[in-house]
Symmetry: C2
Subunit: 293 residues, 2 copies
């Protein structure tokens, strides 16, 4: 279907082709020549973990990230322990799929709660408990700040600056002394995921991207379209459909030292209702139009 050669840094995030299983999405990327894929755990489970890992091996498509760990906030200790356990499994799945990036969507307020500071402490505690095992498995944790409109129900981590504060709290400051020893970027256990849809509005965005530097473990793109639909989750558009200057943010991210994939992640009923191969073709076209050098 696509006559264009796919860009070398382009990745599909499999949430964009939600009706596909992981196996179908990997095969779709292989057909389209898209070299990377960010996978969601539910889609991996639908295809089977072993089979998905095999398919990654045979197609040569690389897994840019696994979505998602996190959701550390819970009303009681039992719930918080279950979340930690689930994150340890996610770390193992990431390792098995050959990616060193596990994206964390950290969780909103527990039902009925108004204790935002308390929920944020649960998140910091949760990441600190998962990080040592992740490091041991060679998987890095990418804290993803979500748009503040998801603060109540999906992520109390709302800004890139806050995500970096958390990463530094758990992982130590880069090049700073940790147990008396310096720490190089290659040793990073905890970093951040930057998604244009979630961070584009932030007046501190470019300064925080510069601060993030090598802590940027994943870069996701999607556009902001208005009006927002109900629940606000599915209001995204292809790059170029909306109000975000995606190129400007991509340039900042590159300038900060990020050299990894650009993952296209779009939650949109309209996109989901489009045949997957057609969506992948649009990804390549839009990348060429808005993001290729």
């Amino acid at each position: 279907m696509s006559a264009l050669p796919a860009p070398a840094r382009l990745a599909l995030n499999s949430a964009t082709t939600k009706r596909w299983s992981a196996a179908e999405a990997i095969e779709g990327c292989a057909r389209a020549g898209i070299p990377g894929i960010g996978l969601w755990r539910d889609q991996v489970a639908a295809s089977g973990l072993e089979r998905t890992a095999d398919l990654i091996w045979t197609t040569g498509v690389k897994v840019s990230s696994l979505c998602r760990g996190g959701f550390f906030t819970a009303a009681d200790e039992r719930g918080r322990r279950a979340a930690i356990e689930d994150n340890l499994r996610a770390v193992e799945e990431a390792a098995q799929l050959g990616t060193d990036v596990l994206i964390l969507v950290c969780g909103g307020l527990p039902p009925g709660s108004r204790d935002l500071a308390g929920a944020r402490r649960m998140v910091a505690d949760g990441i600190a408990q998962v990080a040592p095992y992740a490091e041991q498995q060679g998987v890095r944790l990418a804290i993803e700040p979500l748009h503040p409109m998801f603060c109540a129900d999906r992520s109390v981590v709302c800004t890139l600056g806050q995500a970096l504060d958390l990463a530094e709290e758990v992982d130590g400051v880069l090049d700073g002394p940790i147990d008396g020893a310096g720490r190089a970027a290659g040793d990073l256990a905890v970093g951040v995921a930057v998604d244009t849809y979630h961070v584009w509005w932030d007046p501190q965005l470019h300064e925080q991207i510069a601060r993030a530097g090598r802590r940027i473990l994943a870069f996701q793109v999607g556009d902001w379209t208005v009006p927002l639909p109900a629940d606000a989750l599915l209001g995204r558009g292809h790059v170029g459909d909306g109000h975000i200057d995606v190129r400007e943010i991509a340039d900042s991210v590159a300038k900060a030292g990020y050299t990894g994939y650009t993952e296209v992640e779009i939650f949109s009923q309209r996109v989901w209702d489009t045949p997957g191969d057609e969506t992948l073709h649009t990804l390549i076209e839009r990348y060429e139009e808005y993001l290729a050098s």
Copy 2:
């Protein structure tokens, strides 16, 4: 209807009783014993400016703020000039209604634009052009940061920190040298409006409220309920209905030195469909339950 005495610092923002004209809202406050009212210009126009000002005089209800000036962003010079003109009229209306606070909702991106930095410059320019006339009329401009989900279409001013940066840019830093002379809090021409609904998620909220100090010219309250409805504008609830610890924010605002009204502003179809007197009764009840000392 209300057996409770209304708290001395409570104000209705007339958007909460959207089906009422300004005159009806003022009369409703007088009946309920609510001492303050934040008025919207469209409702004032519906009742007539003169008649509204007379009613304020005769009922003794005080105008806590006028909503709203702003919307400085426009695709062309003509549009931006028209916005300035409209803001000068809003300043005059505020003065005539006996309030010294004009709330600014600064405007989103012009249609089709992705130039966020450019839109933010338009806002700074617009406020700078309105401020001298406002100062002359004894009206202070309260920059209201809106929730970042409104960045594209209603306000490129998204955080309290950003609003304060803007206020300081236009108005000079408090106690700092302006033209060689110090500047006291009483001389403030530009400040901010803090609305719990818009700022509650901000990890820097309490430090920015402390920084704001006497620049807080208005304090509005409303609660965050989930799920968000389409367009996200009408998803608010009465204090206590949702996820915001309104009391904690009110305490911060008081600690920063704010002594003015607490205006209840709720955009909600459910609240709008409720008879106004009943809504005012709920305002008083919730204030007593969640905000009274």
